[in-house]
Symmetry: C2
């Protein structure tokens, strides 16, 4: 099922909209029945997440671009990796379990598919051969043993994707000021952030940015994993921002669907911890959150937002920063006395 | 003071050599009086160690090449980084506090100098401007505050080098099987490892590889920080290994000293956790520890070591793997709503 954000927007952009479409971060995300969560999977997925031996050239780990010590992303605009041609900014993996699709163009419909897509994208992990990747991981005794303990069939590509997905499902950031506010603590938001929330609703930002992750409907009983939620960017083309920030250089989802109606269509971006994940947009071209708010108001809603409103919306967006999970640095299994990489 | 390893070797290579030149890893390394250790420094140094904003191009952290989830090194042979021309393998930072010099060519004489050298080496962290680096770090509110708490003069280049050095001094791996053995547990080494230790002594490996880190004298009352301990590699030139592993392509320490007698001179490499830090040598050209042992025997001692002896020496070297410290993944301070990198 494919919702177009603007249709839903007709209902949601009304200033009479109640705030009950707002949802705190659930205690746990929806867990797919074909990949039940357990500690072993999470621990194994965490090791793989930090392990550059997962890349075809063994030169980067998931954490290299989705840095868990930061916002779960990198902060270099368009991600830089040796010998890669990457044109999009790495989105955060925190709270990704509450998404229904993955990548800026929504080309993966589950976290498991997202992992596999990353592994074989020539510009991301760059593996070329499924068997080679599986046998490389299998040849690391610690992984061989852990996969055997966790899955009857040991190291397989599917199981690799399952443990990475399980680990990412553990990366959630509850207890933001916003979450406290909407679950009853009316003092949790500053007056500026409260005004920002009202502006965010009344100007129409919330037409697209609603739901658990402010990225549209989250997977649940009424809305399936893999159901996409898209919007045009720019919806109001021809502003000076298009050129200034190279907004129209990347045509978006059409590159995946080959459907002309998807030119400049993008998955609605999640907003939790947005203050921790500068720079902004698919091309990481906008360096600051206040400028990102101005650009969105103009390119999406045809609005020149007054400086005070921008400040308030930023204060609201800053209230979406949650508590990052504490974790130990993983130790990666070795192949004593030899390198698999060289 | 400069010791030439081969001179000391005359005494140490005797097969009558007692094992009392062997030392377990001390509980704490020597701490320099101008940089007393404390928790604040270690915590701050740990954050900086994981922070790519320390690099001129903001594209790599210390941990990128000295991976603490692995052996404290990378495992890619010669270290690969975007837009860099690196020809040497990243040595491990674990137990580096027990060294008296740093880098393969011993060009830094303390951990503090080592940190500064890394920061401004165009092929490592690649900073060009001291003031820019300091102001970048100072502009991150979390760092500004932590440095103010830790040092009267806040963020300075010297203080950056001090906290990184303090963190590295906390990275020690005690309780190897070897350490247990020489402190009284005679069952800690396998028969093969015990034979390996004897071969290691009797063939002359120990002429250079002795002391706390098996890299020559460690800093202490009799031997100062900054006193180097060097050896020719290859000491027996002209073997087929020279070409096979490109051993003579890099002339070593002469590039630093410009003294002809330093052609092919190198700092004696430490051996703790050597089984965890493949591939081997300054150029990371040898993939396995058994081949590294064969190459060293031939190029340094003119010996063709029999296969059984190689196996035993490897068993001994494997006994040098200690317990890596557990640590939490650091959270890095943010600049909310903006990127310093872009």
């Amino acid at each position: 099922m494919k919702y177009a954000a603007f249709l839903l927007g007709i209902c949601l952009s009304s200033s009479a909209l109640a705030f009950d479409v707002l949802q705190p971060l659930p205690e746990t995300p929806i867990i797919p029945t074909n990949n039940p969560q357990n500690e072993e999977k999470v621990a194994l997925g965490k090791q793989l997440f930090f392990d550059n031996r997962l890349a075809g050239n063994h030169d980067v780990s998931c954490n290299g671009c989705h840095n868990l010590s930061r916002g779960g992303d990198d902060d270099g605009g368009v991600t830089r990796m040796p010998n890669r041609d990457i044109r999009r900014s790495a989105p955060s993996v925190y709270n990704a379990a509450h998404q229904s699709t993955y990548f800026w163009d929504a080309r993966a419909l589950s976290l498991e598919d997202m992992a596999i897509d990353h592994l074989f994208d020539p510009n991301i992990m760059g593996n070329q051969d499924r068997k080679k990747l599986v046998s490389r991981i299998k040849n690391i005794p610690g992984y061989h043993l852990s996969f055997k303990k966790t899955f009857e069939d040991g190291v397989t590509l599917e199981n690799i994707s399952k443990v990475i997905a399980a680990f990412i499902r553990s990366l959630n950031t509850p207890n933001s000021a916003f979450d406290k506010y909407i679950t009853g603590d009316k003092t949790a938001l500053s007056p500026s952030a409260k005004r920002g929330l009202e502006i965010f609703r009344d100007t129409g930002c919330m037409s697209c940015h609603f739901g658990v992750n402010f990225a549209g409907p989250a997977p649940g009983p009424a809305y399936g994993m893999g159901d996409g939620f898209y919007e045009l960017f720019p919806n109001n083309p021809g502003t000076s921002y298009d050129e200034l920030y190279g907004i129209t250089e990347d045509v978006g989802r059409v590159l995946i669907t080959r459907d002309r109606s998807d030119v400049y269509m993008w998955r609605v971006a999640p907003l939790r911890n947005i203050a921790m994940t500068a720079p902004y947009f698919h091309n990481g071209s906008v360096n600051s959150l206040d400028e990102a708010v101005r650009v969105m108001a103009k390119t999406q809603l045809k609005l020149n937002l007054p400086a005070k409103d921008v400040k308030d919306v930023v204060a609201f967006l800053e209230s979406l920063t949650g508590e990052y999970p504490e974790m130990t640095l993983p130790r990666l299994p070795e192949t004593p006395g030899k390198s698999l990489v060289k």
